[in-house]
Amino acid sequence: MTGHKAIEDRSNRRWAIGFTAVAVFLFVLYHWIVPNGPSWLHDFVQGWFSNANTNEMIVYIIMALGLNVVVGYAGLLDLGFVAFWAIGGYVAGWLMSSFLGNFKINIFGNPAPGLEMGIHVTFWWVLLAAGGFCAIWGIIIGAPTLRLKSDYLALVTLGFGEIIPQVFINGQDINGFNLSNGNQGITPIDPIRFFGFRNLGPFDLDYKFVIYAVICAGMVMVSLRLRQGRLGRAWLAIREDELAASMMGVPLMRTKLAAYAVGAFSGGLGGVVFATHINGIFAERFNFSISILILAMVVLGGMGNVWGVMVGAIVLSWINGIGLQQFGNTVNGAFNTNIDFPSFNFLIFGSLLILMMMFRREGFIPEARVRLVMHEHEDDNEEVH
């Protein structure tokens, strides 16, 4: 056991170094190399790996890691994760803009000149507030339903993921109260104050990247630590056999609710980060396909494995956000065709999911235990079990 521990500690240090190295490299790339480099480099990077897309990737990594706690660690299926993303985004909208114009509150906030009305709270506190608010919602939705079988739980989350965005879409007039500004959305969001020396407007993507990378690193660390701790082992026990776990004294409800709350918290973080990234919240962005996309990141990357989930999030958000379109433009340009590549998104995602489930159920970078479980009954097709 101690040897095991030592290995884990060492890998802990290793990932921190690697993560920092990648983050620093990307910052240097976007901040100095690309603006000062040759124009072909500029075109290449902006075309294939644009700064905006990288930031969006981080949003997805944060949320996928959160969903990984629910789906990968605790084995609870969540088909409505987008609800937490939306709630987190709107918390940012309420606390970081002049939208709630009846108030004039400023708590270390940073309103743009001329937009002093409304509530303005500093970004870091909003992160906590949104995460906490989402966690409360996660518990509210989880508490009465977590005792259900997994299929039913999936349905409740699905319903929740449908209701919340509709509330925000229809929310410009709830008995005369404007909750969400409906389809127009809430914009602009206050600029983030970058360690006290710079206000990050919509175009400071490179500085925002630093902040988002810090949040992402925090999320990775929390995921890894939780996995090793008592709670993480309890989640795994529940995932593998709920009944056996409860017989061993694992408090089922509390443990599952904890998974739910952690997942929801990170959904809230993702919401705030995304809101500051695109400088607004727009209700129509939050739909079911996002829930599925994030779930696909977790499943294809490798359920339960933090690195796998990160890879899944990076690859899928890249395909979804920029890769496919750019690939299409390149192909169309090279062969003088006019194929609408983004319309193949459905086909690519669909076949990817089907083929992965057929040939590599455990994901790109699987967790060892998941691999065993996924292939448990492979060879006993004719046996009674």
């Binding site: 009465p144 339903t145 079988k149 409860s246 459905f346």
Partner: protein, 353 residues
């Protein structure tokens, strides 16, 4: 919430008559919700009875379509415990196939004898197409995952749903398309209650179909095989039932019903869209759960109820209105899961070791 920590099977059958305070809260709050519902219906009925019945019948019309789609969900769930996410998209392809047959192939755009003929042909083609497609999907995507953990076939179903949506997207285009119907556009008016002839047609098609299905499941050998397979696959296999063929047959029947629903939706509502299956599929699935998933009569009851509630909510003067339609349906789903997870006609199942 930590009260029932020690009893993982607290959803199991009720114990002795001793009143558990938690149980009591559940019962009281459930009763209050039902009371509120009854009050809302009463107020609306009193306010304008003619409007009430008009929108109720209109809602039941949609409900019949939901019931047909819900049957496909519930049969598949009953036999292999899979939430077949792709089923709604199958229905969507059914609408497109119908439009293709009636308007493109036969060129029928108005009610006429030839139009009815095209309708009949489209019925057969659409049912065969969706049924066959569903069998194919089962064969190639789900069959090899039958022993895998539940998450695997579920994800596959989502993948299949995406692929079908892709087909729909390229068949129909990214927007909504409007079609002319071959069904008559007349309406009856009985004491102010307006009934569309199309509603009558939907019921005239749906009810015989349900009767045939009931006969098929309860009276035929194939139906008995289906029930046996649903109960215990391994035992069924030992009794000489060809389990693979029985499951394929179930998928085929479910698909055919979705195809029929697709035809009627396309002819009655008159529009097709590639993402239609997603919306209606979720509603139909809610219907199946409402009635008690795995229960055929439950799916029909659930579909009609959901259609009714949706129609009432959308059409009544004291309702939330159409923009909340989806929320109302899913709120029902969530409340149901909290208060009666087994559905209206379903039985609670105790978890076995």
């Amino acid at each position: 919430m930590p009260a029932d920590v020690a009893t993982p099977m607290s959803t199991a059958a009720p114990r002795a008559p001793r009143l558990d305070p938690k149980d009591l809260t559940y019962k009281i709050s459930g009763g209050l919700i039902l009371l509120g519902l009854a009050f809302w219906l009463g107020v609306n009925l009193f306010h304008d009875p003619a409007q009430f019945f008009t929108v109720a019948i209109d809602g039941l019309k949609n409900g019949a379509l939901y019931a047909l789609i819900a049957l496909g969900y519930t049969m598949v769930y009953g036999i292999i415990q899979l939430i077949n996410f792709a089923h709604g998209d199958l229905f969507m392809l059914g609408t497109m196939m119908s439009a293709f047959i009636i308007t493109t192939v036969f060129g029928q755009k108005a009610p006429s004898l030839a139009g009815y003929g095209a309708f009949a042909v489209a019925m057969i083609v659409s049912m065969a197409f969706c049924g066959g497609l569903n069998i194919g999907i089962e064969r190639f995507a789900y069959r090899r995952l039958r022993r895998a953990p539940k998450l695997a076939p579920l994800i596959t179903a989502v993948g299949v749903s995406f692929v079908l949506q892709f087909v729909g997207l390229h068949w129909n285009g990214s927007g909504q398309r409007q079609w002319q119907t071959v069904l008559p556009n007349t309406q009856f008016n009985i004491n102010g209650v307006v009934i569309d002839v199309k509603t009558v047609i939907i019921f005239a098609v749906t009810i015989p179909m349900l009767l045939i299905l009931t006969w098929l499941v309860t009276k035929t050998k194939q139906g008995r095989a289906m029930r046996a397979t649903a109960q215990d696959q391994d035992a069924a296999r030992l009794m000489g039932i060809n389990v693979d063929r029985t499951i394929a047959f179930t998928f085929g029947i479910g698909g055919a019903l979705a195809g029929a629903a697709g035809l009627m939706y396309q002819q009655v509502v008159g529009s097709t869209a590639y993402n239609l299956g997603y919306q209606l599929g979720l509603i139909a699935f809610t219907s199946a759960v409402l009635g008690g998933i795995g229960n055929l009569a439950g799916a029909v009851l659930g579909g009609l109820l959901i259609g009714l509630i949706q129609g009432l909510n959308d059409g009544l003067s004291y309702g939330l209105g159409q923009q909340w339609s989806q929320s109302v349906v899913f709120t029902i789903l969530i409340l149901l899961m909290v208060f009666r997870p087994a559905g209206l006609l379903g039985k609670n199942v105790t978890e076995k070791v």
